[in-house]
């Protein structure tokens, strides 16, 4: 794993990824702002669009429909120059509790994970916990196999980085 420099913003606000079980993955990060601000950036499409796709990914968001309320649907369409067809990600918000919790399904694959985001505010900072739960271990294994083959070339760079990092 590449080490971040001491004192850099990345070292202070580190994103941690943990494999919780055969079916679960947890991502955590602390933001130096109250929960309502983090929630706003997550739930307003015009703000969400500005951070969801990393610039380095080389992808563009063609459309972004988010009906953020419990039972509402979302649909994100991406394009990558290396692919003719756009990629669509869609699903339903199972729970939307302002400033606290967001739960959505990932329905682009039939064995997609359920993603739960929890915001916990303490002393003006917010701990964001993102939890991905796959329906079965097989579904997660499939996601691993699929991601190794099917994702854009951006990840080839990551793999290089990985290979050189350890």
């Amino acid at each position: 794993m590449p080490k971040e420099k001491e004192g850099s913003p990345a070292a202070m606000n580190r994103t941690a990824v943990e494999r919780k079980s055969d079916r679960e993955l947890v991502v955590t990060r602390t933001f130096d702002a109250p929960a309502h601000i983090v929630f706003e950036a997550w739930s307003k499409p015009e703000l969400f669009k500005r951070w969801w796709i990393p610039k380095s990914a080389g992808m563009s968001l063609v459309s972004c429909d988010m009906d953020i309320r419990t039972g509402g649907a979302y649909r994100l369409v991406f394009r990558h120059p290396a692919f003719d067809q756009p990629m669509t990600f869609f699903g339903t918000y199972r729970e939307v509790t302002p400033h606290k919790r967001l739960v959505w399904t990932n329905e682009e694959s039939d064995q997609g994970a359920v993603t739960t985001v929890t915001l916990e505010e303490s002393a003006g900072k917010t701990l964001v916990t993102l939890h991905e739960l796959y329906p079965t271990k097989a579904a997660r294994d499939e996601a691993i196999a699929g991601s190794a083959e099917g994702l854009p070339e951006q990840f080839a760079q990551l793999d290089e980085l990985l290979a050189g990092g350890e």
Partner: protein, 139 residues
């Protein structure tokens, strides 16, 4: 002979477990699996070609049941994967799966790091805006 295969397995297993919560437990399982001479032999064998449990049992002069046990220990440690086709269970090195899982977790970390770094900037802007608005109201 093919001890580099085992070396590679250990390197990759350590690399993988590095990214995992159950670091210690996983490492214990891996080293326990590698502590047996027959199981190391099986890994060497699978390093040159996939084999069925029957093949392995014959090659190591063991009963089918005995070999099944060894393979299951290696499987639990993620060092070997097996696949049953018809009545034959074929064993192969589990390295690829381990590598894939490690790479997958690392990709998640990279993706979410990039996303959250960008989110951090937006959150910072919103916070500043909120402060400025509050000050304006007070005036």
């Amino acid at each position: 002979m093919r001890s580099w295969v085992i070396g590679l397995q250990i390197t990759h297993a350590c690399f993988t477990v590095n990214h995992m919560v159950h670091y210690q437990a996983r490492l214990d399982t891996t080293f326990a699996a590698l502590s047996d001479v027959t199981r190391r032999g099986v890994l060497e064998q699978l390093g040159s070609s996939d084999a069925s449990i029957t093949d392995l049992a014959q090659r190591f002069h063991m009963t089918l049941t005995g070999m099944k046990k060894h393979v299951s220990v290696l499987e639990q440690a993620g060092l070997v994967t097996t696949e049953k086709v018809g009545r034959v269970r074929t064993c192969k090195l589990g390295l690829r799966r381990l590598e894939e899982e490690a790479a997958w977790i690392e990709r998640h970390r990279q993706l979410w790091s990039a996303r959250f770094d960008a989110l951090d900037k937006i959150v910072e802007q919103l916070k500043r805006k909120e402060k400025a608005d509050a000050q304006r109201k007070r005036r």
